[in-house]
């Protein structure tokens, strides 16, 4: 089992792992057992890698790079939107990994630490560039009457028409534009959750937020994305 599996395991929600294996005929308990065994081996492999990094082993850095850089690049690129910026972030992250490995106390998983370094570097880059334009979410959030019913009725179910109207690449472009409007931390939460499949707890550890704050940000971001998609399709965001 390689360290790659450590991140691989994190990249699937328990639900998706279960779904896949149950379809293959394995019981839920067996699936959980196997996932735990894989994770435990991966954590062990990561511990060895971090020890070598602490000892200044350059080959260990290259090993870590080979295992994790593709995933971290994906995260950085999705948060930043620019390939050149993502490259700089990944360079910085692995330099930090090499120089600061001794400061890694093992309170979180190695992969969580790597995600944290990557997201922090990306958010720092956004802050320094001052390119980000804050968008008010309010316009795209659902609205309600005083009695708690939807303000605009009927609420249109456009869930099937999204795929009909847009080809896959058009949909991706549309989503990129919509994601870009999210506040940087919210975007990071969405990327780690929906693209990387991290649990709320793992995202909280990565971003130094409470689990409750992660849920709130994720929910609000999804409501904003939903409203934005509704408007793109010619419907009310409400």
């Amino acid at each position: 089992m390689t360290t790659e599996n450590a991140l691989g395991d994190q990249s699937f929600s328990a639900q998706s792992i279960q779904g896949g294996f149950i379809a293959g005929g394995l019981s839920s308990a067996r699936v959980k057992q196997r996932a735990m065994a894989r994770r435990s081996k991966a954590v062990e492999a990561d511990s060895l890698l971090i020890e070598r990094l602490k000892a200044g082993d350059q080959a260990a850095l290259e090993e870590a790079f080979n295992l994790y850089s593709a995933k971290l690049y994906n995260v950085a690129q999705r948060i930043l939107g620019e390939a050149a910026d993502a490259k700089e972030v990944i360079q910085d992250v692995f330099l930090i990994v090499y120089h600061k490995a001794k400061s890694f106390k093992g309170n979180s998983q190695f992969s969580t630490w790597l995600y944290r370094l990557t997201v922090n570097a990306a958010l720092g880059k956004i802050r320094r560039s001052k390119k980000h334009r804050e968008v008010e979410y309010e316009e795209f959030l659902p609205k309600f009457q005083k009695d708690g019913h939807h303000l605009v009725r009927p609420v249109v179910d456009w869930s099937d028409s999204l795929d009909e109207k847009y080809a896959k690449h058009e949909m991706q472009q549309l989503l990129v534009k919509t994601l870009e409007q999210l506040k940087p931390v919210d975007k990071s939460v969405v990327v780690l959750s929906d693209l990387e499949g991290l649990s709320d707890k793992e995202i909280a550890a990565t971003l130094d937020l409470t689990v409750s704050a992660v849920k709130t940000r994720l929910h609000r971001a999804r409501l904003f994305l939903r409203g934005n998609l509704a408007v793109q399709l010619g419907h009310s965001a409400a």
Binding site: Q15, Q58, L61, E62, F65, S69, A70, Y73, N74, Q77, R78, A83, A86, K87, I90, Q91, F94, L95, Y98, P142, F144, D147, G148, H149, H150, R153, P154, V155, V156, D157, W158, S159, L162, K168, M171, Q172, L175, L179, V190, D194, L195, K215, L218, H219, R222, L223, L225, R226, L229, A230
Partner: protein, 103 residues
Amino acid sequence: MPKTINISHSLNNKTCKEMTDLVLGYVNNQLNSRLKRDFERHLDLCPDCVSFLNTYKKTIQASGSFDPAEMPPRVRDNILNFLRKRIRRLATLLLYLISQLAG
């Protein structure tokens, strides 16, 4: 003219606004059995919330459907070369400092 459906609070205990607050917990299967039952009872009565739930789920599906941004091999090689150079430079500097201290 939108069809008006009078949803009695006493029947399902939840307003559409409250349903919206619970939808994340519902899709993640994190609601307790009582809340889940109330949520589903409301869905039985309210087509607006069914539409809302379907579009919320679709949004999650869409935002999770991104193809990964792949690191081009050239960029990968550039980063690795950059890291090797920086580490070599640091090692050289350390050796120099040690030799100065020893000398």
